[in-house]
Symmetry: C2
């Protein structure tokens, strides 16, 4: 590990033009680790370009450097490219996949399944976030975090650990957060306020309509809520604002499986599943043409809401646990 | 500071029977720091009694040692008493206030206004939680956290920092959390699940009824929700379950002041106020016979809901910011 980091530090020292990219549909760690690495490299005098195939969600646009992210890679040579948080190379996007004007590629990731596609690969599935790996490199370089670097890397750690609630919140995750807060002079609340206390009004209005559809089945061990097309039209909210809604039924004591029914057409529903651990919802989702992970999965079912509920509840009832 | 801690470590070495107490209406840090200190002292061979004037809320009953907390102080001599997280001595409760069979009292607190009522006072308002002070002492003693000690102290830090979101989430808070997670072999998720993912079903049902009352005034800079007596009776939820409801209107972008109208009688409402920082809601609350802090305050208004809203919105509209 230390040897790999030394190789990366050497590569940084020998390069001047550096390209950084991450995965499609970027999340807090993809954006935070990319921008944090960019802030560090810029601070030590490198010419840095950050490319992301997809736009930065509104939530993360406050991050220093977010405005300079380019959706098209400039047609120039780069001595070095960093690919961050990308388990499968193709997820870096088409444009990067076919871009050849790079001398060396370094791959930083914390996914167990990461492909070793770089000239140097720093893969550590014990790292809570890719931002943690970036911080290991910056520290090895002897860098003391400035405000911009610290803010971006902190957001990477904060979001990938679910505000330090997920089981990946290990010693190093806390250690890194503490160092970033101190060195960067960060105020944890002013960052948390932007991420967790600034939801669009329409989102809360949509939640206010959806939450009364709360339903419990299987002796309270399964709970669901529903979002209908009607709710979108009366609130003016878009479907992406339902992100996180499924956490409400999941948050109830005794609930093991939470379900979100999201209407996407007159007689068609997207089904989201969350498990607290006992039930493998990926298997459940497969029955509905979908998939996912043990604790988070999704599928699709055609029918009226009543029909869809009957089918999905039936499948959940059949699971033994 | 170091000298004070050395004095405390000496006092611990010289004592065998130790009483620990904290404030009335105990929260996560009061309970977590008390039980964490008790676990540490028990592990090093002391005879420890934890006394709290009020019952431990359901939420915290999973903490190791919570069952052994006594509401009545046993009639015996104690060589040492620790008073934790108690800004004003009277908040330790009547029974402790009049209890005299203690040789020495040590006062651990992180409130700016703490009275120096102990023979030794370790007061540090920069500490994120009283649990942080307990950990400083245990470390100075040379103690490596076991599971029980780590769990209790971690919960103290976690709850007093609002899951590491408040501005008191400083370097030491993260450092302590990291050490506790590692030494105690904690799974951050299994603790977070108990605190944040196990709300009573009735609470979410009450929220589902309350959230549709969401209202915005003053160009969306003020938002309110209401809980009526009707909602309690249809859901069977008690008033204490509304704890945290006010965070929903507060969490909307652009909202500076959030209000919770809680009906407590046919024509009487408790008013809760939260500010994101610009407005001092303590001043607002004073107009309604209440008070509080800059960012969190409350009062009481008589009248029908319409009347109460007119009065309260009028007062908020009048504030310049």
């Amino acid at each position: 590990m230390t040897e790999t980091i030394q190789k990366i530090v050497s590569a940084i020292r020998q390069s001047n033009t550096i390209l950084i990219t991450s995965h499609e549909g970027p999340d807090g760690d993809a954006i935070g680790s990319s921008l944090g690495l960019a802030a560090f490299l810029t601070a030590i005098g490198k010419r840095v370009t950050v490319h992301l195939a997809d736009p930065v969600p509104e939530l993360y646009r406050f991050l220093p450097g977010a405005d300079a992210i380019c959706s098209n890679i400039p047609d120039q040579d780069f001595e070095l490219a960093f690919v961050l948080d990308v388990g499968e190379f193709r997820r870096a996007g088409k444009q990067f996949g076919s871009f050849t004007r790079i001398s060396h590629t370094i791959n930083l990731d914390h996914h167990l399944t990461c492909e070793n596609f770089g000239a140097i690969n720093l893969i550590d599935e014990k790292a809570a976030a890719t931002a943690v790996l970036v911080w290991r490199i910056a520290k090895s370089y002897g860098f003391r975090a400035d405000y911009d670097t610290a803010t971006c890397l902190y957001v990477g750690v904060l979001t990938d650990t679910g505000s330090f609630r997920y089981s990946n919140s290990n010693r190093e995750a806390f250690q890194v957060a503490g160092e970033l807060v101190e060195q960067g002079g960060l105020n944890a609340w002013s960052i948390a306020e932007k991420l967790y206390e600034s939801q669009p009004r329409k989102r809360l209005e949509l939640l206010a309509q959806s939450l009364p559809t709360l339903e419990f089945v299987k002796d309270g061990r399964v709970a669901s809520i529903t979002v209908s097309l009607d709710m979108y039209s009366t609130t003016g909210a878009s479907a992406e604002l339902t992100d996180g809604f499924i956490n409400y039924p999941r948050s109830v004591a005794g609930v093991e499986v939470a379900i979100l029914f999201r209407q996407i057409d007159k007689a068609r529903y997207k089904i989201g599943f969350r498990s607290k651990g006992l039930v493998n919802v990926a298997t459940l989702a497969q029955a509905f043409g979908g998939g996912g992970h043990h604790n988070a999965a999704g599928g699709m079912v055609d029918g009226s809401l009543d029909e869809v509920k009957r089918i999905v509840y039936g499948a959940v009832e059949a699971v033994q646990w």
